[in-house]
Symmetry: C2
Subunit: 394 residues, 2 copies
């Protein structure tokens, strides 16, 4: 039997703009997580550091950063690696940390997710993300992720009756949630009339996607301390348990999928995570779904089993995914309003679930939350990781 | 107790120059490994693909390549990630694959290590590797890895009496071994008089390091199929067992080390791998030591316990590290003569040990080899992974 694994420390910088170095960004979140767990920085208690970053080499001109962090954080001779899985790098790093502990190879692993995108021209960020697309049949033709999301959104509109107003409703909800998250990039309320319909100040980015349907470019870092449940009482905080992890890949190109509006990898990843946890969609109290483009939140909410296919947008209209609704989604503000520093995002989603399951979410607290689900989405749905967390006692 | 883990399939492209795409490079090695293991490509038997690459994003302008490989190899919905740990990425990927299986989370993991460096100007490769150095106190001053290795070599000469002729002897030995490795980049015999002393055609690269003391720039890919020993008889090949893995980090900058000619991370990593395996330096029959610069092979051979400190070069003079000697080192030709495609190297070292432990190394076979050790070296010794492999029956 694998060992049980929990999360006993969390740290999170403000998302937005960072003015110091990439290493300092990572260390800021890490020190907060180590302090939260009650680990003295030179206690030697950390066996492994896993850094999740997608673009440090391209955007910040640094390699082997994980080794630099182990030294800077005074964790030597702790092991250190970097994990990359596009925008799903964060949940992948948590998964690998989980297996290192579950196998008995490590007791304590520090996961850091970080990205620093705003030091370079936004076109370089768009290009970096576009290199996730197929290098022969997509990228060379100038396809970008927003363009792909525009095509995907158009298909969903035709097939299920999703409207531009539904997209605006998701953005408004997530901005509303972010107002109560001090670490979010945006704290501005969006007004329906100002972003939707005639006279709205919300230009198309990739028709039918408007500016406010798309996540921003962000700097930020998040850290988690994971440990074996059998050593968890050495730490200051009560653990939140990792109960299920599922992951699945899909075709590299969307064009090759039998049903291009379905996100098969989301469905398979969630099913695997539910099976491992022994829980079902009905058990989930709070979810972070990867809303790099707001249409993704809608379709993911169907694929993970919260709503029937084609009805996610109807649930948004009814307010079911708001805080206070049946199944609150993206209480942190989501990628849309909290921000989307690529390698940090998957770790940030799990951070938000830990905050919720600890009951420390303040004004955005989902009352009595016991079980959380995160969906971290790589490529255009070609590599998806689902994570189920529960309060310790469950 | 963690599950035991073995290697049941291996694949390896020729190192040198690759003329097709990065994905094709990876798939060439992967298909060979899957076929070696007897896995049909659409059998669904592979749970996870781990890609080790250091520079695919910078050198080949591709991200999320692991997902693309899962699709191209028809392994969907297998999980997929990329692991980066500088030039030690390969052994790091094998380590993480090990823990995924040992924990019971996976049964079968495909590890692919690959780098394609010769598509770009060699100055870009040198710069990529230099980004491993400290971004504030080393890199901005123009320090490169060869320059660092030159300084390190000079110190070893002053402290232990290593000579330029000793360096040449290591290069000659590794080139001699590579003649019998059809996959090596170089098959040319080096003649002592032609590379050493007056009239030699062997210019300084970073004094006292000559051209032939330094590894080349290479393209290449290597793949391994790892599985739980409890399912190993589903596969065509008898497994080689992973018996010990150790890893350690050291200070980011060499200047901060108390003893700058010692490679503390090599020593600690090897000690941990020995402890996990229950074996000692005297049990090792064959070793692959990371000779990006030949001085490293000498110092590593001391740190892993083959020879007393300061006497590695004397062992080279006595021929103890040749095939047929007491402890043959770098039977594959090493990074020096086999080539050094960064992310592939650690996987290639383990590939060579598997070939030796299977008894399939032909003219470079170490007779009766039962136990092998690999040292994969990241940064300038700031992150080192040691792996101990044994024949199945041990």
């Amino acid at each position: 039997m694998p060992r049980e694994v929990g999360i006993v420390g969390i740290g999170h910088t403000s998302f937005g703009k960072w003015n110091r170095s990439f290493v300092e960004l990572c260390c800021t979140a890490a020190v907060e997580a180590l302090e939260d767990a009650g680990i003295c920085r030179n206690s030697g208690k950390v066996d492994q550091l896993l850094l999740s970053t997608m673009g440090a080499q391209t955007l910040n001109h640094q390699s082997g950063v994980a080794s630099a962090l182990a030294d800077t954080l005074n964790l030597r001779p702790a092991m250190a690696e970097t994990v990359e899985n596009g925008p799903a790098s964060g949940a992948s790093a948590v998964k690998l940390a989980y297996t290192e502990i579950a196998s008995g190879f490590c007791d304590v692993v520090l996961v850091i997710g970080a990205e620093m995108m705003r030091t370079v021209n936004s076109k370089r960020c768009t290009d970096l993300v576009a290199t996730l697309l197929h290098p022969e049949v997509e990228y060379p033709y100038g396809l970008t992720l927003p363009a792909m999301a525009g095509l995907f959104t158009r298909l969903c509109m035709e097939q299920y009756g999703v409207t531009e107003e539904d997209l605006a409703r998701v953005a408004i909800k997530n901005h509303q949630h972010a107002i109560h998250n001090p670490l979010a990039q945006f704290h501005s309320e969006l007004i329906f009339e100002k972003i939707s319909g005639e006279g709205a100040k919300n230009p198309y980015v990739a028709e039918p996607l408007h500016l406010y349907d798309v996540c921003p470019i962000s700097d930020g870092a998040v850290a988690l301390v994971l440990c074996a449940m059998d050593v968890a009482d050495h730490f200051a905080k009560r653990p939140v348990r990792i109960r299920g992890i599922g992951q699945a890949t899909d075709t590299h190109t969307v064009a090759e999928r039998e049903a291009p509006t379905e996100l098969l990898a989301v469905r398979l990843a969630a099913q695997k995570a539910y099976a491992m946890s022994g829980l079902t969609p009905g058990d989930i109290d709070v979810a972070e779904l990867h809303d790099a483009f707001v249409i993704l939140e809608i379709v993911e909410s169907e694929e993970v089993g919260f709503f029937p296919r084609g009805q996610g947008h109807l649930a948004v209209r009814r307010g079911e995914t708001k805080i206070g609704g049946r199944i609150p989604v993206n209480t942190s503000g989501g990628l849309k309003a909290k921000g989307h520093p690529l390698g940090a995002t998957g770790v940030s989603q799990i951070h938000e679930l830990v905050v919720q399951l600890r009951g420390e979410a303040g004004e955005r607290q989902v009352k009595g939350a016991k079980v959380g689900l995160a969906i971290n989405f790589g490529g255009f749905g070609n590599n998806v990781v689902a994570t189920v967390l529960t309060r310790e006692e469950l």
